[in-house]
Amino acid sequence: MLTLIARDLRANFRTGSGIWLPLTMFLTIVVLIPIGIGPDVDLHATIAPAILWIGVVFSVFLFLDRIFSPDLEDGFLDRIAASDLPLEKYVWCKIIVLWISSGLLLTILTPFLGLFLNLPLPVGLMCSSSILAGSPALAAIGCLGGGIGTFNRHGNLLQTVIVLPLSIPILIFGTKSVIAYSNGEPYLTWILQLSGISLASIAIFPFLISYALKTVLEE
């Protein structure tokens, strides 16, 4: 399994786009929105958690089409399905790789970009930990979208219909936790709920996704 994760990460680094495009997407959103709003510093700090979180959602969902379709097109998935490795483990590795090359990187960047949005460093760190807790769920949802996107008929439409509603609770809990923290309210519940959703999605989604992939492989 480590072999598979290492291979995919190396592929992401080597092609460049796999690592840099989510980062640039995130940077673009975080930089452009305050410029569009204008020099209202207090407003920036108020909407900063939402901007950072929306940036994360967009960056994780940037490449849903490229998660499984290359492996499907070159016959890699056929060989994996025919090998001793369970398809669920392969999917699990894909979720981990997507998370490392988007969610984890953005977690590290968030406190610094928070400063850019006039967000105090402690609040920025809080935002970053909420992203750390929630982004694994986003990666799992993204992979579900990627798996469903490989369907020949209506794949892309289904992908949007499934990915968007599933990501909304995570976005709400994520921003809510940061706002609660900066208002001095209890915030741990939100983080725990995010972690719970993440753990549950990493455990359940691989089975759904590999079922979707098996259906595609049969055609």
């Binding site: 592929a11 492989l217 049969e218």
Partner: protein, 205 residues
């Protein structure tokens, strides 16, 4: 490749690949019906058929990749090496990386003996995207067959290979069968060797 002499003789005797009254469907249409065969160690099955006769469907069904069938199938999957008509190679990686990836995935000691056998061991540092179709096929075959599995199920393995490559592969298949392996191969071309068994799928439409 694993040394087959070390395996217990009882295991070798038990090993077999068989289907009974197999009928396969694709898009609700019957591809072929009532195919039966039984292969024992040392036998090769050459599946011949025109385009669309269901050669790939049959192999996919044997490997458990398709559930649209009726009938009985016996294939010990943990003993089976499979290569479909696509190579499953990553074009951005080198030949060596691609080759070693499949061996590491199955926890098999890395060996380049089949790359040497196909005379492509000097290409280990070359990215796969720069190779010709035949060379890619050789890399994929080497990775799939180096695993030492006793049953080989190969979809159109002779495609893209030059005459010499076809002869090398045919000798490899015959050598594997002499060591009590089982090989199932499809082709739309005339075989370059004399298989012990053959199956013309066109008759079963």
């Amino acid at each position: 490749m694993a040394n087959l002499d070390e395996t217990k003789t009882s295991e070798v005797e038990l090993l077999s690949v068989g289907v009974k009254n197999l009928t396969c469907y694709r898009n609700d249409a019957t591809v072929f019906s009532n195919v039966s065969f039984q292969l024992h160690p040392g036998e090769q099955l050459f599946i011949i058929g025109s385009n669309g006769s269901g050669k790939t469907t049959l192999l996919k069904t044997l490997m458990g990749l398709s559930s649209k069938f009726e009938g009985n199938i016996l294939v010990p999957l943990h003993e089976t090496a499979y290569l479909g008509h696509l190579n499953g190679l990553k074009s951005e990686f080198t030949v060596g990386d691609n080759h070693e990836f499949w061996l590491k995935l199955e926890n098999i000691p890395v060996s380049h003996s089949l790359l040497e056998y196909f005379e492509i061991d000097d290409l280990t540092g070359t990215p796969v995207r720069l190779l010709s179709e035949g060379q890619k096929k050789k890399v994929a075959l080497a990775g799939a067959l180096e695993s030492g599995k006793r049953i080989w199920i190969l979809d159109e393995p002779f495609n893209g290979l030059d005459r010499k490559g076809q002869v090398l592969l045919a000798e490899l298949i015959q050598g594997h069968c002499e060591k009590m392996g089982i090989v199932v191969v499809t082709s739309h071309l005339e075989p370059v060797f004399r298989p012990t068994r053959s199956l013309a799928l066109d008759k079963y439409r």
